[in-house]
Symmetry: C2
Subunit: 394 residues, 2 copies
């Protein structure tokens, strides 16, 4: 791929990552399952409710005993919401029962306490009730064997609550995609170190690690290597434990391009994609693990991830795709013919978008100040104020 389109490169990356991104189930405790995606449908192992119980604090009765009102019945006992196996209710009597209490056999309705008056061990009932009133039957929420949750569902608290209510303690979810991040470049120093002239703080490690997490993946290996092929090879070997390897830097046509030089003997496809920022792009398979290589300029690295990899990871993680919206520009701009531009913009309350910073791939503060990407198609060279442009919410 010496020169290729954005769409073709995106398709290539998707095809390369497809095997690694095939959903694999893993079992996790409910307490670790928030925001994870169910690997398959879950059938309820029990009826819910588990047993016939009262929906109200009141009196369990035989509804037929309330044919003539008011009626006064002897109170035969009390049933709390507790482990209990109450005696059957005899017709012509009532049992005090709490919400959730086990309905005694024989009883078929509950009279709420507010519709009763009590005198000693007798209760007087003033309102009629039908069989079934205020009684929760087993399986009335869900029957054993019925589908409690579908597969492919991103788990919220109410889903975890339903699993717990059915007595489950674990859930099979889609395993997170594991990602190794290798940043390269002898000019880079870690944040916190005092740079000398010519050195730049490495922001790509931070950016890719956070972007992978935000897209639902998990970074299991992360390192920075200088422009040294042996160091790069060693890092790649360690990185193959992950599902996917991401690299930044070292794939231009210039000299000292450590990623290109290391991976070309392994069949890497290194070339140029018709986009800006982010032109240089490469892919490889290293010992069976797909390697997606981004250019090293910080804005290029971040945009390349958003364009080529984030949508794939988000889908596996059950996250919605980035919101795309057309917005009018507040001011015009020019764009290079033949390249898809990913400009940075700020959307305003009126739905318009203003470009921020310039097109430079080093403008990390400008990217941080933006709220949307503005997509300018390959064939467009001029945009005027008011022209509608496609934007991706960041």
């Amino acid at each position: 791929m010496p020169h290729t389109s954005v769409d073709d490169h995106a398709a290539l990356v998707a095809a390369m990552l497809a095997p690694a991104l095939m959903p694999r189930p893993e079992t996790v405790p409910l307490d670790d399952a928030l925001d994870r995606v169910t690997a398959s449908a879950v059938a309820s192992p029990v009826d819910l409710p588990l047993f016939r119980n009262s929906q109200m604090d009141g009196y369990a009765v035989v509804a037929a005993d309330l044919a003539t009102l008011p009626v006064t019945l002897p109170i035969a006992g009390e049933i709390a919401a507790r482990p209990s196996d109450p005696l059957p209710l005899l017709p012509g009597s009532a049992v005090r029962i709490m919400t959730g209490g086990v309905m005694p056999r024989g009883a078929d309705a509950v009279v709420p306490v507010e519709d009763t008056t009590v005198d000693g061990n007798h209760v007087t009932i003033t309102r009629p009730r039908s069989a079934g009133d205020f009684v929760r039957n087993p399986g009335s929420d869900i029957h054993r064997g019925d589908r409690l949750l579908p597969g492919g569902l991103r788990l919220a608290s109410r889903h975890l609550a339903a699993l717990a209510a059915a007595g489950l303690t674990t859930i099979d979810v889609v395993a997170r995609v594991t990602v190794a991040v290798i940043t390269t470049g002898s000019e880079l120093v870690p944040p916190g170190v005092e740079p000398v002239l010519g050195q730049v703080f490495d922001s790509n490690g931070t950016a890719l690690a956070a972007a992978v997490r935000a897209a639902g993946g998990v970074v299991t290996f992360r390192t920075h290597v200088l422009d040294d092929r042996d160091a790069m090879l060693a890092a790649l070997h360690r990185a193959t434990a992950a599902d996917v390897i991401l690299t930044s830097g070292g794939i231009s046509m210039g000299d000292y391009e450590v990623v290109r030089e290391t991976l070309e003997p392994f069949g890497a496809r290194v070339g140029h994609v018709a986009m800006q920022p982010g032109g240089p792009q490469a892919t490889a398979v290293f010992e069976g693990t797909p390697v997606i290589c981004f250019p090293g300029n910080p804005v290029s690295t971040q945009l390349s991830f958003e364009v080529f990899v984030a949508p794939l990871l988000r889908e596996v993680a059950g996250l919605p795709a980035a919101v795309r919206r057309w917005r009018p520009l507040t001011a015009g701009t020019a764009s290079m013919a033949g390249k898809r531009q990913f400009l940075r913009g700020r959307a305003d309350a009126e739905g318009r978008v203003t470009l921020v910073a310039g097109p430079g791939s080093h403008l990390v503060a400008g990217l941080a100040a933006s709220t949307v990407l503005v997509i300018v198609p390959e064939q467009v060279t001029e945009l005027a104020a008011g022209d509608s442009v496609e934007t991706w919410e960041l």
Copy 2:
């Protein structure tokens, strides 16, 4: 508050939690800061770029030397993207320079390599360049002291990248609200235990812990207590280390109401809110820590959290409020006068909503199957198919 409105109870809970929810800063490493909220604006400690450097692979030149084209200049050396302090460029010469390489003093433009031809140690340049072309000046992205990020910003990967690029390793963010969860009820057993007749699996602990996390808080203490006042008091004492204590169950007017009985001596306000599910509600301050008490029926517990506490936690965490939308009902329903109903529904692709399950506060599977809450105001008793209702996205 024997009887109070939903809005009044929400205002009471908000006022009680306000001191505990006052944003407090804490310093975290960048790698732990994704999705956290900046405690204050961050000024850049450096100019970005840090130094004058080349935007292209090419040749650093004096632009004035390109007045007559083509021009052939001797190549005085090479500057990689590396720590380096290059010699000043003499007029009438060129230096090979890589993207990111330190611009030598004297040079004021870069000629991209594709606009040059090289013969031995001379380069011939065919296109004119102006001073400043393809040169990145220090501070052209951001000047030292200028605002890199605003306060109150939810941190995405691009923000963390900008902080790293400026050499920062930590960030002051708003501390997460710490929450203690105490579930009560002698009828409850943990999921995974075999229940006897009258026992129910505790789903409220799972539900509240996950809901707190989803709202940006952190559960620092969680326990279940039986209907025993000494156990409840002990749990409350341990829970006061959190900013907020949540309880479920034990606040009805029935007997064996452990939360009410334990907290009333401490001035708890226990009463009834005109809503369904979720009528019984209580608040207290225990040794200086606010205690928000929900009823124990699982759907009541979950809805009470969503209505009274989740919006407050989400705001501290920089999370958007739940989306509220009006949707037409696919079928009519009746509602109790004087109570705000929170029914469960499923929104469909056409934007309509269908009620699922019934109003019962025990229907946890029904809640799990819903995608929206349907709000029926206090004064509405009848809704017909096609009527528009307010819905909250779950």
